[in-house]
């Protein structure tokens, strides 16, 4: 299958008053046409930064570095800002987490939708509007014509998120990055939006990067996933592989933490990971999970960890062998 996006050894650094924040470290993944790749991890682990680095929308002082960052064969590290702007929203679209604030409150939905295509295509406003109506209907919004004249605040969160999706599709991109598209929504709406995304992705044969911290969402939607911790990828593989047979202690801890109806017994204690996620500021050595890891040894502080590939596309980041990793988490 054709690869849409190829990321190899991506680093993102943010200078903060307290020191240099290494928000993303040595992250590699790729997305194929029509495939859903999920980045999953807890808050602050660098998921959004990875996405923004790809879009070249990092915060002002953010600096990105990568061995390979290529999109449809073009090296994104080498092209200038205006070329990148031509790609953004055109070939590569992004949907953000907060549907409430991600639309400009001052302009109508129609205006904002049309703007996306008028920027990149030589089309008339009428054509742009037709496209907008078509896509609004596509994302399940009825009475699309009249919706075009509405302002964002007149729509509910679910509708706004649909508008955001439609906006991403305006130019028919080959890659969509969805950064926690459903986190702010109610569960019932979350399911609807995710189905919608999935079906659109099938229909238009797009690559999709789905960023989330919800293991349930990942397991139901992604083809492949990368578990991130503290700016690094600690485990990758196909969804089945990782969920059925997690290797890294962090992945396994994470899966133990959440109550799963049918699996966990009601009222029973849940698994947990002690401590909290550190923020990677300053000089970093050793494994970043070592202080929460049940099987950590003094070596973990000294030795640099690497992703160990155990089969094509399946890798984990630990000093120990897969078997040694799989020590039981003690339920404290």
């Amino acid at each position: 299958m054709k690869s849409v996006l190829e990321v190899k050894s991506l680093y993102v650094d943010l200078p903060l008053p307290a020191g240099m924040l290494h928000a993303v470290r040595n992250v590699s993944f790729h997305v194929n046409q029509g495939e859903t790749v999920s980045l999953v991890g807890e808050s602050g682990c660098g998921k959004s930064m990875t996405a923004l680095a790809v879009m070249n929308l990092l915060p002002r002082k953010g600096v990105r570095r990568a061995e390979v960052l290529s999109f449809e064969g073009r090296d994104l590290m080498k092209i200038d800002d205006s070329k990148m702007a031509d790609i953004r929203g055109n070939k590569m679209a992004m949907i953000f987490q907060e549907p409430m604030t991600s639309l400009d409150p001052c302009y109508t939905i129609g205006n904002q939708l049309e703007e996306a295509i008028l920027q990149h295509r030589k089309v008339s406003t009428a054509e742009a509007r037709d496209r907008a109506v078509f896509l609004l209907e596509k994302v399940g919004i009825t009475a699309a014509e009249s919706r075009l004249k509405q302002y964002p605040h007149q729509l509910s969160g679910g509708l706004r998120q649909r508008v955001m999706i439609a906006m991403g599709l305006m130019c028919g991109p080959s890659l969509i990055i969805a950064d926690e598209p459903t986190t702010a929504l109610d569960v019932t709406i979350q399911a609807q939006i995710l189905s919608l995304l999935a079906s659109l992705q099938q229909e238009f044969e797009m690559g999709l990067i789905l960023i989330t911290h919800d293991l349930g969402v990942v397991s139901r939607t992604a083809d492949r996933l990368a578990v991130m911790y503290c700016g690094e990828v600690v485990e990758t593989g196909t969804t089945e592989e990782v969920f059925d047979n997690p290797i890294h202690p962090y992945t396994r801890g994470l899966m133990d933490c959440i109550p799963v109806p049918g699996k966990t017994k009601p009222g029973e204690k849940l698994g947990s990971i002690p401590g909290m996620v550190p923020t990677p500021i300053g000089e970093l050595t050793g494994c970043s999970f070592r202080n929460r890891c049940p099987s950590a040894s003094p070596d973990c502080a000294r030795t640099e960890t690497r992703l160990i590939e155990i089969s094509p596309g399946r890798a984990y980041r630990c000093l120990l062998s897969p078997e040694a990793c799989a020590v039981e988490w003690n339920r404290a």
Binding site: M55, L57, D104, Y107
Partner: protein, 305 residues
Amino acid sequence: MIVYTLKRLGLAALVAITVSIISFMLIRLSGDPAIALAGENATSEQIEFIRIQYGFDRPLVIQYLDWAHRALQADFGESPYFQQPVTRIIGDRIGVTLKLGVMSLIFAVAVSIPMGVLASIRPNTWIDRIALSISVMGQAMPSFWFGLIMIIVLGVWLRLLPISGTDSFAHYIMPTIALGYYGIPAFMRLTRSGMLEVLSSDHIRTARAKGLRWGKVLFKHALRNAIIPVVALAAVQLGFMLGGSIVIESVFALHGIGYLAWESIGRRDLPVVQAIVLLLSMIFVALTLLSDIINAFLDPRIRVK
């Protein structure tokens, strides 16, 4: 919409009444206006005469109601000092003050908004520093002193600009700068902080993710959102400028209502003072109303469905 407008108008009326009572009481309770009216070297008989002639011997409440009743018909009575209808006296002078106020506002806005925008897109650079310094210094510099210094430098030493009077546009330049300068810090800071906030907001990121060019992001999406609080401030600021033009009018010998009010206080020309206080208050209320309407136009969240 109608209810809202009525409410606003009701509020304006309430403000007007309160303001008028305050100004009426403040001035009337402070002493006998008859003596003031009689003027220097007047005798007791003259004073007594004036007291009865102007009705200063009646109870305060009656005097107030009487005044308020006539004020409603745009009749602020007659200035005892000028022996002329107050409306006419103010009418003769308000043009100068309005001109000065509006020009100062335009000056302040024209300087501060571009500066604020520049500072916000390049925070912590020299542009930002200069803009901030100007704003901090502006806040610390008394406007009368600034005006006087301008007179010395631009008027007397360099002879670039006329010093006083209202004969031509050039006459308004120095007063406009002196008064307008005072508004710059507030506008600039608000623009800058508003822009900084908007620029880091989600919808700007959305706009950029759409591939929009920087200019379009800046002017179409960022500025319009950031300008909304500035519009509200502009109304308040213009009100302040009209009220604060007393000092500037006296420095540059502009015969507007600010200076008229100041003189009238000194000579206890009560009807004039009351009318000006009320007028300035009403202008203020009207301006805030206007800014609400403009903002409703800019920000659909405020508008009707």
